[in-house]
Symmetry: C2
Subunit: 454 residues, 2 copies
Amino acid sequence: MAAVTSNQEKAGPSICGYHFQWLALLAKSLLELARQAKKLGEDDPRRIINSLKAGLSIILVSLFYYVEPLYSSFGVNTTSAVMTAVVIFEFSVGATLGKGVNKMLATLGAGALGLGVHRLATLSGKTGEPIVIDLFVFAIAAMATFARIFPRLKAKCDYGLMIFILTFSLVSVSSYREENIQKMALERLLTITVGCFIAILVNICICPVWIGEDLHNLVALNIEKLGIFLQGFGGEYFEMYEEGLPSKDRSFLQGYKSVFNTQSREENMANLARWEPGHGRFRFRHPWEQYLTIGSLTRQCAIKIDVLNNYIDRQIQPSLEIPSQVKEHCTMISLECGKALKELSSSIRMMIRAETTLLHIGNSKIAAENLKSLFISGLWKEADPLERAPATAVASLLLEVIECTERISNAVQELASLAGFQNMESSRSLEQQQESNQRIHSINLQNHEITIGE
Amino acid sequence: MAAVTSNQEKAGPSICGYHFQWLALLAKSLLELARQAKKLGEDDPRRIINSLKAGLSIILVSLFYYVEPLYSSFGVNTTSAVMTAVVIFEFSVGATLGKGVNKMLATLGAGALGLGVHRLATLSGKTGEPIVIDLFVFAIAAMATFARIFPRLKAKCDYGLMIFILTFSLVSVSSYREENIQKMALERLLTITVGCFIAILVNICICPVWIGEDLHNLVALNIEKLGIFLQGFGGEYFEMYEEGLPSKDRSFLQGYKSVFNTQSREENMANLARWEPGHGRFRFRHPWEQYLTIGSLTRQCAIKIDVLNNYIDRQIQPSLEIPSQVKEHCTMISLECGKALKELSSSIRMMIRAETTLLHIGNSKIAAENLKSLFISGLWKEADPLERAPATAVASLLLEVIECTERISNAVQELASLAGFQNMESSRSLEQQQESNQRIHSINLQNHEITIGE
C-alpha cells in the first residue's frame, strides 16, 4: 500500500497514471493466479487431465445437438443430457460412478412414482387434480428430505435422494400441463442415462483416478509419517539434552501433524471407493472399511507422538545428566517402533505381508523391560523429581507408543488377510519365477536366433 | 437368525408360513426405521420442521404451473424453477443463501458469456458454428473445472462454478438449434431467480436455522466439555489412587472425545455463516474466523486432556502413597482450569465478557508454583522413580493444561472485543434497568387499576 501511494504521488493525479497502476495491479494478480495454478497442477498433474476430461465429456454430449438423427430422437430434452454430464463428472471414478448410479436409479424410481401419482390425480377431476398432486408432492418431498439426515443414507445416497425429490416433483407437477407425460418421463430417463454413460466412460477410459487407490496410499503415508518421527525422535531428543540449545532443522519431524486432519477425508474416500469396480491390485469388494480402522489407530498414535514432540519443541533442558543407559533404551524403543511402522506402511503400499514387524516390536519390548528394571534398580534416585519429570514422562509415553504400534500392526495384519496380501516369500518366488521365465524366454530367443542364424 | 430357523421348522415349509415370516421381518425393520426416525427427530426437532419447509417451497413453486397467467409467462421453463427450489433448499439459512446467490450470479454470468459466444460462432457460418462453439465450451469448461480446485474458490463458490459450466454449456450448445436464444437465456434466469427467492423466503421466514448460531454454540460446548473433564479429573484421579480399583461410572469424563472430530465441520459452518444476514445477537460481519482459532486451540487442549485421561483409563496404581500436598495442588490446578474453561464457555454462550477467568488461571498458576517448589524441596526423594513416573507425568501435563487454558482465554478475549461482547456490569445494569422498568410498569398498572377501581 505504501509503495502504491508513493507511486501515485510521483505520477501525479493524471488519468493515464491511474490507468497504468490499475493495469500493473491486474497484471500482478494475474501472475499470482498463474503461479498458484501452476503449483496446483504440479502438485497433482491429474487435476489438469481431469479438467480436460470434463471439457471433453461436455463436447461429446453436445454432439447430440449437432447430429441430426440424434437430435430428432431426443429433442429439447437433450438439455438434461448436458446438465447430467456436467453435474455427474467428478474427479475420481468412485465419485462419478456413485453420482451416476444414484441419478439413474432415482430418476427411474421417481419417474415411475410420478406417473402413478398422475394417474391417481386424474381420477379426481380437473379441479381436484392439482390438490391431489400437491398433497403427494408435499408428503413425499418432506419424507425424502427427512430421509437425507439418516447417517447411512446420507453417506451413500444423499445425491440420489435429492434427485428423487427433484424428478418426482418435476414429473408430478408437469403432468398437470403436459399432454404426454409418459413420453416426457421416458425421454428424461433416456437422456439422463446417455449423459451419465458419456461422463462415466470418459472418466474411466481416459487416465482414471481411483479414489480407492488414493485412500490406500493416504493410509500408508500417514503410518510412514509416524515412523519417520519415531526413527528420528530418540536421537533428536537426547542429543538436544547433551548439546544444550538446538539449532538444526527439525522440520522433517513435523510431518506427522497432517495426520490429525484426515479423518473426514478418509471416511468420504471409503464411501466413494465402494462404488469402484475391480482395478489393478484392488478387487471389487476390497475391505475399504479396514482402512478406516487403521486410520483411526494411526491418529490415536499421533496424539502420543504430538505430546512427545512437545518435549522437543519446548527445549526442556534439565540440569541433570540422564544416564546413558536410559538414553540408549529410550532411543532403542523409539527407533524400533519407527522401523515397525515404516515396514507396516510399505507392507500396505506394496500389498505384501510384513515379516519383520513383530521382530521390531519385540525388540522395543525388550528395551522397555530393560528400561523398567533400570528404573527399579534405583540408578537415578539422588536426582530431583521435577527435573527428572520430562525424561520419565518421555519414557512412559514411549511405553504407550509400543502399545499403539502393536495395535496398528494387528489392524494391518487383519487387512492383509482380508485383502489377501501376498507373503514376501511367494512374492519373491513369483519374481524369481518371472525372472527365470524371462531367462528361459531370452534363451529360447537366443536359440531361435541361433536356429535362424544357422 | 437362530430364532428364524426354529420358527421355520415349527411352521413347516408351507408358503403361508414363509409369507408370515417375511411380513414379520418387514414389520420389524419398519419399526426399527420408525424408532431411528423418532430419535433423529427428537435429537433435533428442527429437522422435522425443515422437511416440512422443503415440501412447502416445492408446493409454492408448483403454483406457477397451476395458475394460468404465471404459467403462460414462463412456459416450459417453469421446470427450472422447480429444480432450483429443490436443489437450493438446505437445512440452514447460510447454506441456502450461499447456494442461491451462487446460482443466480453464475447463471447471469454464464448466460451472458454464452450469448457472446453464440454471436461469435454465427459469424463463422453454419458449418463452422458447432466447431467454434465446441472450442469455447471445451476451453471454458476445462478452465472452470480447474478453478474448482483452488482452495479459496472451492470453499466459497464451488457450486457457483459448477452452475457456471452447466449454464454456459447449455446456452452455447442450445444456441445451435434454438431460434430465439436470448429469450431462452432470459427466461431461464428469471425462473431460476423465482425458484431461488421462494426457497430462500421459505427458509428464512419459517423457523430459520442459523448456522452461525450453531457454530457459536458448538465452540462454546466444546470448551465446556474440556472444563467438565478438568473439574472432575483431580478428584477422580487421586481418589482412584486411594481406593484402589475404581468402580463408579466415569462416563461424564468422556465427553471431551467428540471435540477431536469437529474441525472440518467447524470450517464448513464458518464458510456458510458468512452468507447469513444479521440476526438476533449476531450482526452481518460477525468475526466467524475467530471461532476457528478458538476451535483449534480447544483441540490442542483436548490432546493434553486425552493423555491425562489415559492415566484414569489404565488404572495405574503405584504402590507408594502420593503426598497429600501433591494431590492438593494437582487437584487445585485441574479444578481452577476447569472453572476458567467453563466460565469462558458461558461467556461465549451469553456474549458477556468473562470476568473471573484470569482469577482462576492465576489461582492455578499459584498452585503450579507451589507444586514446583514442593518437588524441589525433595519431599519425595526416597520413592522409586518409575513408580512415581505417572504422578510426575500428570503434574507436568497439568502445567501444560494451564498454558492451553490461557491461550484459549486470550482467543476468547479477542473474540469478545471483535464481536463487542458486553461487560458483566453493563449487562447487569441493563437487567436491573429492565427490572426497574418492569417494576415501574407494574406500579403504573396497579395505580391504573386503583384508578379504575375508584
